[in-house]
């Protein structure tokens, strides 16, 4: 896969099929060969492993969401950024490239439960000249005590696919997608753990599927004092993807209204609309 777009059919094929971010008015992923400044990582060109999830629609949606929030992220001037479940490394590498211009000395951490994924993340980071410390661990285990309250930007593309419960926690690539009941089993473990990591001004970006009941996720987060908004929604042939953003809001708890239900689009009846923050 060394000679660019023509090689590595499986990986680059995925890239080519993707609905481009540009079609949706979002920044286009820069091509390595174009000579323009890279906005995001070029994963298929640098690293892959059979046991590691290749960047796909969900990864691109998350990076496009980060790109669409780039101005706010630059204003935030994060010190510590972290990805939980970094897989190929596409997202954390893209974030580090995107924020490189800050010159603020922002530092990056990435975790993955899969050793191969951690190594692939590292290779991707290195190939793009950025650095994150990569740790093999379950979510944030081992960092939970000392890193609590220090993370300014957390990004998570969780294993969100609804699967039989017993598939959760399987080794290898299954750990990158198997989400158990409603795809929520791992998400519901990640959220409280990542909340503890976030600083007072910290933001969390997370991918979720319609099946995960994002409205419910936002409601649960509002009960814990977090406001939320949908940064990006993208429907592919297979799934409806959301990128949700959460941030601490002292008013979130008091103004959280009871969860609405029904078969209409959940977006139209967001109980947390009133919590949208003009600065975030």
């Amino acid at each position: 896969m060394a000679d660019g777009d023509g090689a590595g059919a499986a990986a680059t094929g995925k890239l080519a099929e993707l609905p481009s971010g540009a079609e949706k008015g979002l920044p286009r992923r820069a091509k390595a060969s174009s000579g323009r400044t890279l906005n995001t990582a070029q994963i298929p060109l640098v690293a892959s492993h059979p046991d590691v999830y290749e960047p796909c629609d969900d990864s691109f949606a998350l990076v496009d969401a980060l790109l669409s929030d780039k101005a706010q992220l630059l204003t935030l001037q994060p010190r510590l950024c972290m990805e939980v479940g970094s897989g190929s490394g596409y997202v954390i590498t893209s974030l580090a490239i995107m924020l490189r211009q800050l010159g603020s000395g922002a530092q990056y951490l990435a975790t993955d439960i899969n050793q191969h994924a951690a190594e692939t993340t590292q290779a991707t980071l290195e190939a793009h000249g950025v650095h994150a410390d990569v740790i093999v661990t379950d979510i944030v285990s081992g960092l939970d005590k000392r890193l609590a309250g220090m993370v300014d930007v957390a990004v998570v593309n969780p294993p969100y696919v609804p699967t039989p419960v017993e598939e959760v926690g399987c080794k290898g690539i299954a750990s990158s997608w198997a989400g158990g009941l409603n795809g929520r089993q791992v998400i519901d473990r990640i959220l409280p753990a990542v909340r503890e990591m976030l600083s007072e001004r910290g933001w969390l970006y997370m991918v979720a599927l319609e099946d995960n009941d994002p409205s419910d996720i936002c409601h649960l987060m509002s009960e814990m004092g977090y406001a939320s908004r949908v940064v990006l929604k993208r429907c592919t042939e297979e799934e409806s993807l959301y990128v949700l953003k959460f941030w601490r809001d002292p008013h979130a708890v008091s103004s959280a209204s009871p969860k609405s239900s029904g078969s209409e689009s959940w977006f139209s009846q967001l109980p947390f609309k009133s919590l949208w923050h003009k600065n975030s």
């Binding site: 603020s104 590292q122 379950d138």
Partner: protein, 131 residues
């Protein structure tokens, strides 16, 4: 893994009381220069366990890099200190962000459970019966 991350990591193995600080044993490490940012160090320093950082540098065979006691902030962040070779802030920056442990292990101080570091990546995963 840089010493910043070592400073943040603890062992969650069953039987550990604090699991911190992890004893660093490095067989291979290197340094990579990065730009110093005083504001970043200023924001980070209150969160750093100085003792653990000093012990980590000694484990790497760098006994002269950091003093036993953390220098006062007015010394660390004195005007122009970042441009002075060997200044406290330069040493702290170097210790936290420029030293990369590539091979070795992290040992839980309470249980002696060993967490390997391979290719710069510490593996903190526990077996089911260790959680």
């Amino acid at each position: 893994m840089r010493l910043l991350t070592h400073n943040m990591l603890a062992s969650n193995v069953r039987g550990a009381t604090t699991g911190y600080p992890l004893t660093l044993e490095a067989t291979k490490w290197c340094t990579k220069e990065v730009e110093l940012n005083a504001d970043f160090i200023r924001g980070l320093l209150p969160k750093i366990d100085w003792r653990a950082l000093v012990d980590a540098t000694r484990a790497l065979g760098l006994p002269e890099l950091l003093p036993e006691e953390q220098p006062p902030e007015e010394e660390i962040f004195a005007e122009g200190a970042a441009d002075v070779e060997g200044s406290a802030i330069r040493r702290i920056h170097h210790a936290l962000l420029e030293v990369h442990v590539q091979e070795g292990s992290l040992v839980c101080p309470d249980t002696s459970r060993c967490f390997p570091i391979n290719k710069g990546i510490p593996n903190m995963m526990l077996h089911e019966d260790e959680v």
